[in-house]
């Protein structure tokens, strides 16, 4: 039997758009599926249905060779019997238990010696040494997140489910843990499903991404492909970032990085430890077009290019420019007329360094 995950479900809530999700993807040892979408799009409901905490009215959920839910044949596997690790958005650490107690909580089936050994192992893996006796309320947000993850991982689950794993953290911690979480997931060699609405998290951590909106799955694919080639306008609107291209950091000084993309050099803001391989993300509305040969502006990036496509989108027009890589700019119809933009015309695309987002990319 093929190693795959099948989710095909309908769940309705009164007064809300019904959630109808169909999703099927290949699962390898460490495949990370990203459920991406705005809040209220139904991604948490899907995650909870996979966990066995919500019961879709109709559908089938199958993980590898195991069927967890099949309403047609009446199969309903309880969350206890699914062998999953689940981390809710606010971690739900048990307040009456210590860090070690939380981690040991799901290890009741082990003999006490084995249990202690496993707790020690997990404590070390998540760098929680010295905090074993602490109660959850005494921990920082980042520590709580690690304990919650350690607790979920300790019973050696077959599938890890993380609901907005980083959203409860402050921005600097989130940035730091984003990279750590990815390498940890790869190290654990554990398939996982991560719910997020943050495109940088999706790009950093995901192998497969499903874009959700209004209770439906709109597109499934590799994250950078989905971002750079949204299937339709709805997906483009949901993901919000029009351009995701692979780049190489050449120089990184005082938070300003120079990145090479297909021979074109770009300046973008970066954190210190970003690494050489990055995704360069630019929103089309952040790209300003100027006639070729115009004067200086404050923008750090002036890319010479040739217009290759002009596509009206409502009151705006999407202009695609080839400047070593394909860049999209959203401008008004009036701007297209003023600049006499037609395919073949040379223009300069100006982008502020702050609008060039760099996201670490793992080199396969």
């Amino acid at each position: 039997m093929a190693a795959e995950m099948i989710i095909d479900m309908i769940k309705t809530y009164s007064g809300r758009v019904p959630i109808q999700a169909r999703l099927r993807y290949d699962v390898e040892a460490s495949t990370v599926l990203i459920l991406f979408g705005p809040s209220g799009s139904g991604k948490t409901t899907i995650l909870r249905s996979v966990a066995g905490l919500e019961w879709p009215e109709e559908g089938r959920i199958q993980f590898l060779s195991r069927t967890w839910l099949d309403t047609k044949s009446g199969i309903r596997v309880s969350p206890q019997d699914r062998q999953i690790g689940y981390m809710p958005q606010d971690y739900a650490l048990f307040p009456t238990y210590s860090v070690a107690g939380n981690i040991a909580y799901g290890l009741g089936a082990l003999a006490s010696q084995d249990r202690n050994r496993r707790v020690a192992e997990v404590v070390e893996l998540f760098q929680l040494q010295g905090l074993e006796a602490a109660k959850p309320r005494e921990l920082s947000g980042g520590q709580q997140q690690r304990v919650a993850l350690a607790r979920a991982v300790a019973p050696r689950p077959q599938l890890l489910l993380l609901d907005e794993p980083l959203s409860a953290l402050d921005a600097p911690t989130r940035l730091q843990l984003r990279g750590e979480l990815r390498s940890l997931l790869k190290q654990l060699a554990l398939p996982s499903i991560i719910v997020t609405h943050d495109w940088a998290e999706a790009l950093t951590m995901g192998d497969v991404m499903a874009v959700m909106g209004e209770g439906q799955i709109h597109q499934v694919g590799k994250p950078h492909e989905v971002f750079s080639r949204p299937a339709d306008a709805e997906v483009a609107r949901i993901v919000g970032v029009e351009m995701v291209v692979q780049g190489q950091v050449i120089e990184n000084e005082n938070g300003l990085a120079t990145v090479a993309v297909n021979g074109t050099r770009l300046k973008g803001l970066s954190s210190d430890a970003i690494g050489a391989a990055v995704y360069v993300c630019i929103r089309a509305e952040d790209v300003v077009l100027e006639p070729a040969g115009s004067g200086m502006t404050s923008a750090r990036n002036h890319l010479k290019g040739v217009v290759c496509d002009i596509a009206p989108q409502g009151v705006m027009v999407q202009v695609t420019i080839d400047c070593g890589f394909l860049l999209t700019a959203t401008v008004t119809r009036r701007a297209v007329e003023d600049l006499c933009l037609v395919p073949g015309v040379s223009v300069i695309a100006a982008i502020k360094a702050g609008a060039v987002h760099l996201v670490p990319r793992s080199v396969a």
Binding site: A51, G52, L53, S78, P79, Q80, D81, R82, Q83, I84, G85, Y86, P88, D90, A92, F94, P95, T96, Y105, G106, G108, A109, R151, A152, P155, L161
Partner: protein, 224 residues
Amino acid sequence: MNWTAIWVTFKLASLTAGVLLIVGLLIAYWLTFSKWRWKFIVESVVALPLVLPPTVLGFYILVAIGPHSPVGRLYSDLVGHPLPFTFEGLLLASILYSLPFAVQPFAAAFEQVDRRLIEASWTLGVSKVATFFKLIVPLSMAGLVTGAVLSFAHTLGEFGVVLMVGGNIEGETRTVSIDIYDEVQVLNYAGAAKTALLLLAVSYGVLLLVYAMNRKVWAVWPQK
């Protein structure tokens, strides 16, 4: 002081609180976590002793366990004597009479346990029953103690139900509150005063314990 009556009363109150700790816990768990839409019917039945005159409650219990009812007949066939006017009959009546005093604080405490914690426990492979003992009980401890203590204290002072169901049998169903009434009837105010003071002191002590521990769980007084 009538030490026999005091002994009967404390035995009755302890057993009532003990039984309610088990029965009340089950009812409260069901009331809190059931999604049955008609469960308010059960909630209202449980709360009935709060508003019903004890004599009315006592009357119905008396009829229900009397020799003319199937339950009463079954009991006297099994045990050999009828249920009314015995300690066991009084215990049953006390349990019903104090039911809301146990169930309501229990249910309020369960209600405050974050569902996400319970779900997290389930996903860690821990059964519903084990989750109840490992997680829900420790988190509701204050409410459980409150319920047990309140039903104990409430049973100490019951009068109407005892009179209807238990009668006034020395060493069997004659409780402190009945004893006080009898003392006053024979104009022995000194005897009544001593017993009354004891009951007052115990009741006050018990409530001190409850409100010192928490005022969230059973808010007779407004929450701060």
